[in-house]
Amino acid sequence: MTSLYDEVQAAPGEGVPTRRVTIKVNGEDRTVDVEPRLLLAHLLRQGLKLTGTHTGCDTTNCGACTILFEGRPIKSCTMLAVQADGHSIETVEGLASASELHPIQEGFKEEHGLHCGFCTPGMMLAAKALLDKNDNPTEDEVRWALSGNLCRCTGYQNIVKSVLWAAEKMRAESK
């Protein structure tokens, strides 16, 4: 069992309430004691050491913290860790298998869909949510699906190309 407080401090302060939650993260059950106010993004980053999920704002605008919650893209900075109790989530660390990258990851590299990489995990997960539902999206559908995610570096054009590249590969693979 991983405990958030094992990671960040010796023990919860006196009078600080905690709740035990179990969340399936990238297919694996993780049980942790958390303060009820702890944000899911912070649990992932600090408690579970899954630092691929980034936080880029305080107002639910940037999408750098996007993960998949029961397959749907959500902003993990705007969900409490306790709300995820009993649920299944996927983070960027779960995209690739031990031997193989996910087509979306390949697409981002192939089409130069990232510069600094800070928005990339969130972008890829938002893209995955789209492609899991629709493996042949139009450019507009891709742009709309990513419109909750900000990127300061790329200008999006290559991100869109990356997603379309991945869609094509996923279609070919599923044939």
Partner: protein, 793 residues
């Protein structure tokens, strides 16, 4: 056989990026990802008001919260002589406020606690009593006689003026105006904009009492400058300071200055003897760290009636916030503003600049530009647009007539810059063709009949990138050279370190390509490292598009030194004299017998195992590169828009970008930079700005108010390429990272103003939000965006 350069990932290869391998797996290593054992967390309490005397600070309640280890105030900093620190522009900046707060968001106290949540709680428990003072939110208020003096901490401070500066030949310019047939004028405000990288600033200071060594992991685009500054401020010996910039989540100039948070975390670590992590939140980043622009530009152009430009005059009034914390070469008070009009053949020019303190966040950083050239080129292209209209000339033809011609290089501008290469006319032609300029006038006429307002905007410019040569460019006295260090291992693999600092530009990928080009060592065999001052050679870092012009040149130069030594080894291995040896990519051979040769890898092995008598073993070297001149890329951008006459909403129909940045190391990466820059240009033109209300509240303090375009709004871009190699750069490259942010905004504004041109509108200040465009449309008047704004504007 010579190697195929593209196959080994040399110059011109669109090599896929090495750094992507970790980023796409979520395995980047940004400051906030680093965890040190025993690490504490710091949070900063910021001022809610823009200008006030601090009457008292009571931190006792903060200490009541379990897990709080230390609370720092200005007084405690002052006791250690750390309440103020120098800025990169020879001013001072408060680290934690002692006497007054001078802008909303200024650092007032800091809490160090076991966990970031506790630190945030404790900040709320600190009680500060303020006595409010009159607030100044623009330079015109600042210059009024009798206005409150913001920097009363400084002796001999003349009111709120920061500097007064001029350049150019006033007499010659006056004469040009006296002889002009037509004088065209322009006046505008380039609003304050925040670079706002996705990742905010942050640091982890780790002072080790046992060794006396201070290590700071931090978000810096210029770690060596930070080391020098920390040595100065914290009075620690330079060899006992190690600054490490890990992966940066973007920078865009925002991560050049040294911020109070870094300094406070250092003191906190020294006092607690524990590592202290400070990660700024987004609001903190937006309201307190280095902004760009905020300049009022006014000027005029002297013209002959056939369209020839005879002279130009320009005055700038700039708003620097509470501390003059511009990051720019020290000789130039308003950056390289005087590069304005560098692509045009103008005999006489004069610039006057005045800077003022206001109760706003400090800065004036090179936000994705080479020190104020964004403002310079924006004014230039807005002025040119207006002048063409005043003359009744076509936008493209007016530019063509006045652009510096290919055979005029090297060309000395009226302000003294030396532009050295370019094919401006060719770029213009390519852009005109791509945007459909021929048929456009007829199209516009026809559309107007249907109530549609079409516009095309052009922006052409050359900008000075790659500061810079040691005669003219320094920051705090340190010359703006850069460096590279290359070590070839015995198997022919290598490690390269430079004084630059990647923040998304792809140095790990592209620097290796320069090595591949110079030595024939496949790029995949070259590790690139930057950002650790204990290992990297001293360099001035990455901003102002200087990496390729300066550090990139150093990479080529160090590789050439390696090749020179390898040649001696090759002569030894081939048992001929050095003069009888020829080089082809990756291989030395005997001139008389091309079959007889040795590879660079053979030479590397021999450098460790079979060197000639008397030769020093090993194969490594370094190069410090002092560039002879700046590099001068050229850009020609065309934007076509349609404005909705009912609402003022404008849509981008097409964007064409023609860039000549000389030889492209990695075309894929160059195009990525251009598209990123175009997007920031579109952002500034359409939505992104920071303004202030009359109480000094920052409007634009979070992403709900500070609007950044998403994939949905951002238009598509069509890119074109022209290559005029830089004559003095070792591989012919020019800077490019910022051309699009610099030249782009004017193309968008010119397009919208063109669409409204028949209504008599000369200017709409950015951002051209629909309400502003609508007002211009319905009144036919110019729209100014000067703060203060009324809430809800």
């Amino acid at each position: 056989m010579a190697l195929d350069e593209i196959k080994i990932g040399g110059l011109g290869a669109s090599r896929r990026r090495v750094e992507d391998n970790r980023f796409i797996r979520g395995k980047g290593n940004y400051v906030d990802d680093i965890v040190l054992s025993g690490m504490l967390h710091m949070e900063i309490l910021r001022s809610p008001v823009a200008h006030a005397r601090i009457k008292s600070i009571d931190v006792s309640k903060a200490y009541d919260i379990p897990g709080v280890r230390l609370v720092l105030t200005g007084e405690m900093m002052a006791a250690r002589n750390l309440a103020w620190m120098p800025t990169l522009s020879y001013d001072t900046q408060a680290v934690l406020a002692t006497d007054k707060v001078r802008f909303q968001g200024q650092e007032v106290a800091a809490v160090i606690a076991d966990d970031p949540y506790i630190a945030k709680d404790a900040c709320q428990a600190i009680v500060v009593e303020y006595e409010q003072l009159p607030v100044i939110v623009n330079p015109f208020q600042a210059m009024e006689s009798g206005s409150e003096v913001i920097r009363d901490d400084k002796e001999n401070q003349p009111g709120n003026k920061v500097f007064d500066w001029e350049i150019g030949d006033k007499a010659a310019t006056d004469k040009a105006f006296a002889e002009a047939d037509v004088i065209s004028k322009m006046e505008l405000h380039y609003p304050r904009s925040h670079p706002s990288p996705m990742e905010t600033c942050g640091s982890i200071a780790d002072f080790n009492r046992a060794t006396g060594k201070l290590t700071v992991y931090m978000t810096s685009q210029a770690p060596h400058i930070v080391r020098a500054a920390v040595a100065m401020v914290a009075e620690l010996p330079e060899h006992m300071i190690r600054i490490v910039s890990p992966d940066l989540g973007g920078g865009f100039g925002n991560k050049v200055p040294i911020y109070p948070g870094y300094v406070i975390s250092i003191l906190a670590s020294i006092l607690t003897e524990r590592p202290v992590k400070w990660i700024e939140d987004k609001t903190g980043n937006l309201i307190s760290t280095g902004f760009g622009r905020d300049v009022y530009l006014q000027g005029e152009m002297a013209l002959r009636k056939d369209g020839k430009m005879l002279g130009m005059r320009m005055r700038t009034i700039s708003d620097h916030g509470a501390f003059y914390a511009d990051a720019q070469p020290s000789k130039f008070k308003i950056g390289l503003m005087h590069s304005t009009f560098a692509c045009y053949d103008i005999p006489a020019a004069h610039l006057e600049s005045v800077g003022y303190y206001t109760n706003k966040a400090p800065g004036g950083v090179a936000y994705r530009c080479s020190f104020r050239v964004t403002e310079a080129m924006f004014f230039q292209e807005r002025m040119v647009h207006a002048a063409a209209n005043d003359l009744g000339m076509d936008q493209a033809e007016f530019r063509r007539m006045n652009l510096v011609k290919d055979d005029m290089f090297p060309y000395r501008t009226a302000f003294g810059f030396l532009t050295d290469s370019g094919q401006y006319g060719k770029c213009l032609d390519i852009g005109m063709k791509a945007i459909g300029y021929d048929t456009y006038k007829a199209e516009q006429e026809e559309a107007r009949k249907r109530g549609k307002l079409l516009g095309i905007g052009i922006s052409t410019m050359t900008e000075p990138l790659g500061a810079g040569n040691s005669r003219e460019y320094d920051i705090l006295g340190i010359k703006m050279f850069d460096s590279a260090e290359l070590r070839v291992h015995m198997s022919g693999k290598a490690i390269l370190r430079t004084g630059a600092m990647n923040q998304g530009q792809g140095h790990q990928t592209t620097w290796a390509q320069i090595v591949a080009h110079e030595l024939g060592i496949p790029a995949d065999d070259v590790t690139v490292e930057e950002g650790d001052t204990d290992t990297a050679p001293f360099g001035m870092g990455t901003y102002a598009s200087r990496s390729t012009p300066v550090a990139g040149a150093a990479v080529a130069m160090v590789a050439r030194k390696i090749r020179a030594k390898a040649r001696k080894i090759a002569a030894h291995l081939l048992e001929v004299s050095e003069e009888d040896i020829e080089w082809e990519l990756g291989r030395f051979y005997v001139r008389s017998n091309k079959e007889r040769g040795v590879t660079i890898q053979d030479c590397a092995l021999a450098a460790y195992s079979n060197m000639p008598d008397g030769m020093e073993p090993g194969l490594e070297n370094n190069a410090y590169y002092d560039p002879p001149n700046l590099t001068w890329p050229f850009a020609a951008y065309f934007v076509k828009v349609e404005v909705d006459a009912e609402t003022g909403v404008w849509d981008v129909l097409k964007v064409v970008a023609v860039d000549d940045c000389g030889v492209r190391i990695n075309p894929m990466v160059v195009e990525g930079q251009i598209m990123g820059g175009l997007t920031e240009a579109y952002a500034m033109a359409s939505m992104q700005y920071q303004t202030y209300d009359d109480e000094g509240n920052c409007i634009g303090s979070n992403y709900m108010d500070y609007l950044l375009p998403t994939a949905w709004e951002t238009p598509g871009f069509e890119l074109h390429e022209v290559v005029t190699p830089c004559p003095h750069h070792p591989i012919g490259a020019k800077g490019v990272g910022e051309c699009a942010t610099v030249a782009g905004p004017a193309a968008f504004v010119n397009a919208v103003v063109d669409a409204l041109g028949h209504l008599g509108v000369r200017n709409i200040d950015m951002p051209m939000m629909p309400n502003r465009v609508y007002e211009a449309l319905t009144t036919g008047k110019d729209i100014s965006g000067m703060p203060p704004v009324k809430m809800g504007d």
